[in-house]
Symmetry: C2
Subunit: 301 residues, 2 copies
DNA sequence: ATACGCCTTCGCCGATCGCGAAGGGTCACC
DNA sequence: GGTGACCCTTCGCGATCGGCGAAGGCGTAT
C-alpha cells in the first residue's frame, strides 16, 4: 500500500517550474523564464519525478517531451496554480482595504440588464466590499449555489429551486429586436408566432431564452429557424444589425444596446415573455455579513 | 501598486495548517491534528498574515475566530488543497503502473446504461489505463470538453456541437416504467400522450430526458405532471415502485434496474424516444494516446 | 493570588534550496 | 571524425528556511 504522499511535499514553485518546462519543452528556456538557475530547475524536476516515482518528461537530445504522466501532471498543476492565483488575488484585495467578498453567480440577462446599476449603487454604499461575479446559465447558477461555489445566485425562476431560499429580484420582458428596415418593424406588439418566419439569432444553446423560445416554437407546431449562436447580447445585436435575422432579448438590454445601434424592437405578447428573475441562496447555511449586505441591496434594488 | 505576491511564497503546508486552525478554531488542537509543534503552527499563521498583509483570525482568550478575509482564505485554501490532492492521487496511479489517464464526461444515461460494460471490456484490454469519469448533463458535457476539462465527452446528440468532432456511440430508446399494477401496464407500446394523465418522476431539471419530455408535453398542449425530482435512475425506480408515478428511462436502464424491482415497462412510440448518443472531442487538439484508445474502444463498443 | 489555557517570541539546529562550476551526452557542420 | 553548439545532470558550498522546545504575556477560572 503505497501511501499517497501528502500534499505537503509538494511545492507550488516546483509546479510552476514544471509547467514552464512542459510548455517550453526545454529546461534552459524554462529556467530563464522562471528566473532560476538551470541547475535548480533541473533539481526541482528531478525531485518531482522522485517524489512521484514517475518519469514526467522524456529527455531527448534537443529538448524534452511530456510523458503521459507528465501530461496529466501539467493539467493538474495548472488547476492548482490557477486556484492559488485566485487565492492571492483575493487576499490582495483584502490587504487593499476590502472588508468582505461575495461570490455571486448570475445569468447573462441579469448581468447585462440589471446588475450594473444595482452593483454600482451597492459599491457606493459599501466601497469596502467586493463581488466576484460569474456568468452561468440559470440551471448552473442553481447548481453552483447548491454546491457552495457561490453564496448567492441570480437566475430565472423556473429552475428547480428546492432547498434554496428564493426572493424575487426583477421581472423582465423579452422583446424582439430587428433592423429598422425589417418587415416586422413598426407593426406594434408581436406574437412569437409572427417571428417564426424569420431566422433567429440565439445565445449559446444553454441559455434560458433560447430553450424557452425553442419550446415556444414547438408549441406552435413549428421549429425555430436559428441560423447562428453567438456569445453575448452585444454579439446578438451586431448580428441582427448585419441583417442575419431577429432575436429575443430582455427589454432593458435593448434599451442599453439597441438604440445606439439603431435597431428596432417590438414587444412580445406571449405570456412566457415575462420572466421572473430571482435571488437564491442556500437555506441551510447562514449568509456571511458581506453576502447579507449584497442580498439586501439587490432585493431592494 | 502592490504587486500580487507570486503564488511562490505560498506553501501548501501553510494552507493545510491554516485550514486546520480555522476548523478547530484553536491553535493548540490544530497543531496536534497536523502533528506539528504549537510554535511552528503559530509562526506559519503569522507568516501567512504577514505575507497577505491581512488579519485572518481574531484572537480571543478562548480561541480564534475567522475574519472575513479568513473566511475567504478558507474557501480558497480548500480548493487549492483539493486540487493538490487530486494531483497526487493521479501521480500515485502512474507510479503504480498506470500508463495513461483519460478524463471523460458523460451524461447519466450513458453512465448507467452503457459505460459499465464498455469500460469493463476496455480495462480488460488496457489494464494500464485509467479513466476519470464524471457525470454531467449533456449540455455541460459539451461545455466541459470545449473548455478542455476533459478530453472526451458522451452526450445526447442534440446539443450544440460545432467545433467538436462527433462520432456515434449508441442509440437508445426511452421506455415508460411503472408498477406492475399500474393501469397502463400490459397495454403494449404507448404514446407519450397516454402517460400525461399520470404523475411523472424525473431526474434533476437539467437532465435531457426531463427537458425533452417537458417539451413533448407542450407539444401535446398539456403540461407534465411532475411530482418529484430525484437524483439517479435507481432513485427514480424506487420512487416508481413506491407508486408515486411513472417515469421515462432508457430501455437498457430498465433492463438493469427494473426487473429486479418487479417493475413494468412499455415502449414509447414517439419518434423522439429514440435518442442518439455520441462521443465528442475537440477537433483542434489531438487526442492523447490513452484517449485515442478509449475513443476507439467506445466507438467499437 | 494562583493555576490553567491559549497564543507568541526567541534561539538553536538540521534540512532545504539556489547558485556556479564541472561533466557528459547528441547532433550538425565542416 | 573532430569541434562546437546545445541541452541536461551532478556536486559542493553558502544562505535561508522551518521545526522544536523553552520562556513569556495575557485573560479567565478557582
Amino acid at each position: 500500500m503505497t501511501s499517497i504522499l501528502p500534499p505537503d511535499r509538494l511545492s507550488l514553485t516546483s509546479l510552476r517550474i514544471f509547467v514552464a518546462i512542459a510548455e517550453e519543452r526545454n529546461l534552459t528556456r524554462a529556467a530563464g523564464r522562471e528566473a532560476i538557475a538551470l541547475s535548480a530547475a533541473s533539481k526541482r524536476l528531478a525531485d518531482l519525478e522522485a517524489d512521484f516515482g514517475v518519469r514526467l518528461l522524456d529527455r531527448t537530445p534537443r529538448g524534452m517531451r511530456l510523458t503521459a504522466a507528465g501530461e496529466s501532471l501539467l493539467h493538474h498543476a495548472r488547476r492548482v496554480l490557477g486556484a492559488a492565483q485566485d487565492l492571492t488575488a483575493d487576499m490582495s484585495d483584502f490587504r487593499k482595504g476590502v472588508r468582505g467578498h461575495v461570490r455571486l453567480l448570475a445569468n447573462l440577462s441579469a448581468i447585462v440588464a440589471y446588475l450594473p446599476e444595482d452593483l454600482e449603487r451597492f459599491f457606493l454604499n459599501h466601497p469596502d466590499l467586493r463581488v466576484d461575479l460569474q456568468e452561468r446559465p440559470s440551471l448552473e447558477v442553481v447548481r453552483g449555489v447548491e454546491e457552495g461555489q457561490a453564496e448567492l445566485g441570480i437566475c430565472s425562476a423556473h429552475a428547480d429551486l428546492q432547498g434554496l431560499t428564493v426572493v424575487p429580484y426583477k421581472t423582465d420582458d423579452l422583446v424582439v429586436v430587428m433592423r429598422a428596415d425589417h418587415p416586422l418593424a413598426g407593426r406594434g406588439p408581436l406574437a412569437f408566432r409572427d417571428t417564426l418566419a424569420f431566422d433567429h439569432i440565439g445565445l449559446h444553446a444553454e441559455s434560458s431564452i433560447f430553450m424557452r423560445s425553442q419550446r415556444a416554437a414547438r408549441d406552435e407546431g413549428m421549429s425555430l429557424r436559428r441560423r447562428i449562436h453567438v456569445p453575448g447580447f452585444d454579439a446578438v445585436c451586431r448580428t441582427v444589425q448585419a441583417g442575419l435575422g431577429v432575436a429575443l432579448i430582455p427589454a432593458p438590454v435593448f434599451g442599453i444596446l439597441g438604440s445606439s445601434m439603431s435597431l428596432h424592437a417590438e414587444a412580445l405578447t406571449d405570456p412566457w415573455a415575462r420572466r421572473e428573475i430571482v435571488i437564491v441562496h442556500q437555506s441551510a447555511r447562514p449568509l456571511s455579513a458581506a453576502a447579507e449586505r449584497l442580498h439586501d441591496a439587490l432585493r431592494r434594488g
